[in-house]
Amino acid sequence: MKIHEYQGKQLFREYGISVPRGIVVKSPEEAAAAFNELGGSIAVVKSQIHAGGRGKGTFKEYPEQNGVVLVRSAEQARENAEKMLGSTLVTVQTGPEGKQVNTLFVEEGLDIARELYLGVVVDREQNCPVLIMSSEGGMEIEVVAEESPEKILSEYFDAALGLMPYQARKLAFALGMEGKTVRSAEKFLTKICKFFVDNDCSMTEINPLIVTGAGELVALDAKVTFDDNALFRHKNFLELRDLSEEDPAEVRAQKAGLSYVNLDGNIGCLVNGAGLAMSTMDLIKLHGGEPANFLDVGGGASVEAVTEAFQIILADDNVKAVLVNIFGGIMKCDIIVEALMEAYDKVGITVPLVVRLEGTNVEIAREMLEKSGKDIITATDLTDAAKKVVGTLAG
């Protein structure tokens, strides 16, 4: 689960992690008032969307307007907010469709001596969290990794112990910090790693992390993603969820306990098991089609789950045919066919439906399908299924 920058910074503050003073606003008037309240000669107005690259991103409605702007008066804050709120921001991470900006964060301007990069993730090879830093603040870490990997510094740490102060100092010295800044870094880095572990983050990224003229580290950005599997112990985070940032079909699927990802193609897929669901998409593509979605209906494949799955797939207007691919194991094929047929009637499927079943009781299941009198195309194996479903669109 992703949260907004202003929410991340609020959580940082609770951990004693330095962030600039800022005010959340939802109207141009509030933006102007926020400028005055912050009281400085400059302020920064930042679009709040769940995607990076906001500073360089531009609005569809106002191609000259960036997603993050520096303003020097309350009037400028108001003018910019007027354009940004309700408009669609397109960044390198949003895709061409962009994201609508509904909230802005107005922050005090700071005296920036240096910009750095900081990221914490779980490293899958070392099986532990890792703190990644780089002197190239403001640049995407993937680009730095590609162009100058020697500028990336990593400290792996034990999740139970947290980042030790010596590890923080090691990074600080390697980044050329001195005196008071090293002490500031020691505190900042150990706290950010504690924040990461305590809150079950899958990512915490601060880009840029700045060193002020006074030698203090301050988080100028906050990109925080939580591990969905750990939300059961952080129930308060659910209040931070912004559903307008998520794909409605994916939200609906999640509620039904289905795993669904929307894609651009026109062949809907209903599959049991994540690996088989991914492979089914690959198979469609391999035979010249384009999958419309990833959908794992789970091992159970109950009537409710299958019905909801069909409804979600068919709610996508791009879908012109559907492939059901089920390997019946403990859950027998005949039981699955019953669910399929019930769902078929309930949903009223009007596009071609190809069903490929394999596994326990498959013969009984195939016979049930054939005798059903329903307009269902049966396939004998994976390749046959892919060819048939792609074929329905050819004519």
């Binding site: 079950d200 599997n229 059961f232 795993s259 994540a274 690996g275």
Partner: protein, 297 residues
């Protein structure tokens, strides 16, 4: 011959009084009784607070330690819900269980990071989590896979995915090839056992003549496996990698199946495997055929 599971395997189920735990313990018992008539290898279960009870003939113990002492169990199958799973795994390790098979899906990654580190202190092996388990066809199955689709044979199967494992076993069966042992290693970012350890065991197992590995997008485990195969594995290896059409940045069902920062794509994995001399199936319909081809090379 086989790896991990053999005739000395004695299994307990942690979470045996839950629906899934009991159902699968029963299924495993039915399978074991067919394979080894007269032998009781599903020796009981653990649910804290329900010790002393019996469910469908399985004695229930309060602690894993007690279960080990009273039954001689050396293997556990864990169905405990995600919030309590880290605890259950470490309890098993601390009680001296040698093989810990964790079926549960949805364990927080941070829990697994802590568990993985702590397990270094114990001489045990963790399989999973978020996996179908382990089966040595004709001997025993420890997990949720349908037993009959796996036939005894000489292909060692290692897979990140449940249903794809079944699919592969089915395809192998149709080609007249069974499995020595099939292992679902799980689709989470942090797992107990990766491809390399199992490749090594299959290489040493006289009952295994060829190996099939099934991977997916996310992480670099398949690339590490490719490097290892190139260096140390002499037996023929076939492979399939799922998720060629998966968009970057999106989790494809499995918590670990995600392309992040341009890393973990199928293309780089397939390239590495092919460079290591592995026969990689382009279609999931050809997983069995890939092993056959690898053996004929």
């Amino acid at each position: 011959m086989s790896i991990l599971v053999d005739k000395n395997t004695r299994i307990i189920t942690q979470g045996i009084t839950g629906n899934a735990g009991l159902f699968h313990a029963q299924q495993c018992r039915i399978y074991a009784e067919e394979c080894q008539p007269g032998e009781n290898i599903l020796v009981g279960g653990v649910t804290p607070g329900k010790g002393g009870q019996e469910v469908d003939g399985f004695p229930v113990f309060n602690t894993v330690q007690e279960a080990v002492e009273k039954t001689g169990a050396n293997t556990t199958m864990i169905f405990v819900p995600p919030p309590f799973c880290a605890d259950a795994i470490l309890e098993a390790a601390d009680a001296g269980i040698e093989l810990i098979i964790t079926i549960t899906e949805g364990i927080p990654v941070m829990d697994m990071a802590k568990v993985k580190k702590k397990l270094e202190d114990y001489p045990c092996r963790l399989i999973g989590p978020n996996c179908p388990g382990v089966i040595t066809p004709g001997i025993a199955k420890i997990g949720i896979m349908p037993g009959y689709i796996h036939t005894p044979g000489k292909v060692g199967l290692i897979s990140k995915s449940g249903t794809l494992t079944y699919e592969a076993a089915w395809q192998l069966g149709n080609l007249g090839m069974g499995q020595s042992t099939a292992i679902g290693i799980g689709g989470d970012p942090i797992i107990g056992t990766n491809f390399i350890d199992l490749l090594d065991m299959f290489e040493d197992d006289p009952g295994t003549e060829a190996i099939l590995i099934i991977g997916e997008i996310g992480g670099t485990a398949e690339i590490d496996a490719a490097e290892y195969i190139k260096e140390y594995i002499t037996k023929p290896v076939g492979a399939f990698i799922a998720g060629r059409t998966a968009p970057p940045g999106k989790r494809m069902g499995h918590a670990g199946a995600i392309i992040s920062g341009g890393k973990g794509t199928t293309d780089e994995k397939i390239e590495a495997l092919e460079a290591a001399g592995v026969t990689v199936a382009q279609s999931p319909a050809d997983m069995g055929a890939a092993v056959k081809q690898a053996m004929e090379k």
